[in-house]
């Protein structure tokens, strides 16, 4: 669990980071270092922020930094591929920057076309967890962050809950809260602690992986049955940038949108294999799912297979090669069925 080591523990540090982000972004746009800046601004619902595309330095006052900054903004970068006239400034958290490293390694954006403001991240809030803690019938009208707490107001109630209790799953066992690369680090000197135990991250899937295969399959099939094929998981994933996804291909047609479960499974397995060795567990797919399917059960397991087999952790090394672009004669193959 990330704990803020800052004694002031709370809005003091967040406000400093927010102030830093605004100043740096304004400077980038003023000096022409970046033509557009992508950050977060106040959302229209409690517990939300929303991506902001800012081009005027004076608009940088809209930028915010809170535990509601859940989106991985690197998802927008492939749209700027090949745009030599645009340098994009953007805010990245510890996980987001790792997808950015992968996008650079995979030639989706060039390093000199991005200006990175790194933010030491103490984790983002999982809205579904908040709803569960509070009770789904209680409608939140306003949410405020106060130090380590979240203050929720609704019709006839005001509840204070610990942010730590409602952090998103990937944040609970985050090992890289501080971005591994950046041009500027906001909140200078501000430190967040990280989870030092690599196994902790896999605890949540351990139980599932140890089930007999038929039980795993029936659980998986039941969850995938709930999928409505909106492809929000794919669209929210920065690493799902194929101009044409295999499920959209018409000639040949790989996937029908039939009643059958098998096509839904094909999509999800296809996707998870496609991000194997690339996924950084930012949680964007899980968060985007409108029916709450925990796709991380698949991606997290894939991450473990990659880690155990190849000792590889995705998105940490800008000078390395993507896992699937390397080959050694002694590469293990025992995970192949």
């Amino acid at each position: 669990m990330n704990k803020m080591t800052d004694g002031a523990a709370g809005n003091g540090a967040r406000d400093t980071i927010q102030e830093g982000i605004r100043k740096i972004a304004a400077k980038m746009l003023e000096s022409g270092e970046a033509q557009v800046f992508i950050g977060y601004e106040e959302g229209t619902l409690p517990l939300r922020t929303t991506p902001a595309f800012i081009t005027c330095p004076e608009d940088t006052v809209r930028l915010v930094w809170t535990p509601f900054c859940e989106n991985n903004l690197t998802v927008y970068l492939p749209e700027y591929k090949g745009r030599d006239d645009v340098t994009v400034g953007l805010i990245v958290k510890g996980c987001d920057v790792r997808t950015l490293v992968n996008l650079i390694l995979e030639n989706q954006i060039s390093r000199d076309r991005v200006k990175i403001i790194g933010v030491p991240c103490e984790g983002v809030i999982d809205r579904a967890k908040v709803a569960k803690v509070l009770g789904t019938d209680r409608i939140i009208r306003d949410s405020k962050v106060a130090g380590p707490s979240l203050v929720l107001e609704g019709d006839g109630f005001e509840v204070e809950i610990e942010i730590e209790d409602v952090l998103a799953d990937p944040c609970e066992a985050c090992r890289h809260p501080v971005p591994v690369i950046y041009d500027v680090l906001a909140g200078n000197g501000y430190e967040v602690s990280k989870d030092e135990n690599p196994e902790r991250a896999y605890l949540e899937i351990k139980q599932f992986v140890e089930l007999p295969s038929d039980e795993r399959f029936s659980f998986f099939a039941r969850k995938i049955e709930e999928c409505i094929q909106c492809y929000a998981c794919r669209q929210a994933c920065p690493l799902c940038y194929c101009p044409e996804c295999f499920v959209d291909r018409q000639t040949p047609k790989w996937v029908s949108r039939w009643r059958g479960l098998s096509d839904k499974i094909l999509f999800h397995l296809g996707r998870v294999l496609h991000v194997a060795g690339r996924c950084v567990d930012c949680g964007a797919c899980r968060r985007a799912c409108p029916v709450g399917i925990d796709l991380r059960l698949l991606t997290k397991h894939m991450e473990k297979v990659v880690s155990d087999s190849f000792g590889y952790e995705s998105g940490l090394d800008l000078d390395g090669l993507p896992l699937l672009a390397t080959y050694r004669r002694d590469d293990p193959d025992d995970f192949i069925l």
Binding site: P51, A232, Q235, R259, A284
Partner: protein, 369 residues
């Protein structure tokens, strides 16, 4: 509906809902209610579980009438030499038994009336949709507490809107006031809960006729103006006027607002009024089915031509289409917006793209901006 004989209003204890559902089942109706499906809620067959009416189901009511995928006909291909294709006719519609939706919200009930414009208009009659509509009685629960994204009042609906409902349940402290809205709703109550001589109805006396005036006063108290205001506040009319402006299509505002859209289909698939579909043949071996399934204007494939040309090449054009269809083209064709203000698109959007905000921007800037 005002001058019919018999009681105008009934009352049922909140604890009597399961018995109410049981009575419907006993009368051979299939009862469709909000059911849990994993983390989400959607309308499905209510079996033995207790009925729970969520503030708003995750998935909209439309899928009971216009399912995500549905075979339109099946056929056999008689082998390579003789490709004889034989349509077996309408597959699904004959298998629909009489059913009751128990626990719709007014926004969802209204959405069906909007969908009727498309599926059972004077020009077209979609038999698959039509038969489901004909065989379904809609029982709606008025809303007492708006969600953070609700804006039904702004779209001409409201938390007590009766449009599309056959019977309306209105909540008081520990009971519901039951108001038959249509002849059909009234007929259902009569059939399932026949009045006995002592004035009580139904075998377990769960539904009581009540004095209209007293009850109406109690209901009116729960729908106070300030409460309704929470469901309003979005300038839909002004936005429609702006979007119907001839210059709206090319407004520079689109450039600004589309950017954060991810291009997924959450908003369209969870929308109770979005109704676009695709039709394709799915063939395995010597037989196949012609299947209709939901499609989304957010997907590039939606308008991709066989030539490779796409008239809506980027998210900007696709996003514009969604807004324009709901608030300009549909208005032109049917005289009302294709939105009931349920707020699902707002709440479920992964990037908090907010239709209310978009409408406000167009309302204040006008279409030519």
């Amino acid at each position: 509906m005002e001058d019919r004989a018999g009681p105008e209003l009934f009352k049922i204890a909140k604890t009597g809902l399961d018995s109410f559902a049981g009575a419907l089942k006993k009368a051979s109706y299939e009862v469709l209610a909000p059911v849990q499906d994993g983390e989400a809620t959607r309308f499905g067959v209510l079996s033995d579980e207790e009925i729970q009416i969520p503030r708003l189901s995750t998935r909209p009511l439309k899928e009971l009438f216009f399912p995500q995928d549905e075979p339109l006909l099946s056929f056999g291909c008689g082998g390579a030499e003789a490709m004889s294709v034989e349509a077996s006719g309408v597959v699904a519609s004959e298998s629909i038994s009489p059913r009751v939706v128990l626990g719709a919200r007014p926004c969802d009930a209204r959405s069906l009336v909007l969908l009727d414009n498309v599926f059972v208009s004077s020009e077209y009659r979609d038999p698959y949709y039509a038969v489901r509509r004909e065989k379904t009685v809609i029982i709606t629960f008025a809303c007492l507490s708006p969600g953070a994204a609700c804006f039904c009042e702004s779209t001409g609906s409201g938390p007590y809107d009766e449009t599309g409902s056959d019977i309306l349940f209105m909540g008081l402290a520990d009971s519901y006031v039951v108001k038959p809205v249509s002849e059909r709703g009234k007929g259902l109550l009569k059939e399932v809960f026949p009045l006995s001589e002592d004035g009580f109805s139904g075998e377990s006396c769960i539904l009581h006729p009540v004095d209209g005036e007293d009850i109406q006063a109690a209901v009116d108290a729960t729908r106070a103006e300030e409460k309704l205001a929470a469901f309003a506040g979005v300038p839909v009319e002004a936005a429609v006027a702006a979007l119907q402006d001839v210059d709206a299509f090319d407004a520079s505002t689109w450039e600004e607002i589309y950017r954060k859209c991810l291009g997924c289909a959450v908003c369209t698939y969870l929308c109770p009024t979005c109704h676009c579909f695709d039709i394709g043949d799915e063939i395995v071996g010597a037989s196949g089915e012609r299947v209709r399934n939901w499609d989304s204007c957010m997907f590039p494939l939606f308008t991709l031509h066989a030539s490779g040309h796409n008239p809506r090449p980027s998210k900007k054009e696709r996003f514009r289409q969604r807004v324009m269809h709901k608030f300009s083209y549909f208005v032109e064709n049917n005289g009302c917006v294709a939105c009931v203000g349920c707020g699902r698109c707002v709440e479920a959007c992964p990037v908090n793209q907010d239709m209310r905000q978009i409408l406000s921007v167009f309302a204040s800037r006008g279409g030519g901006s």
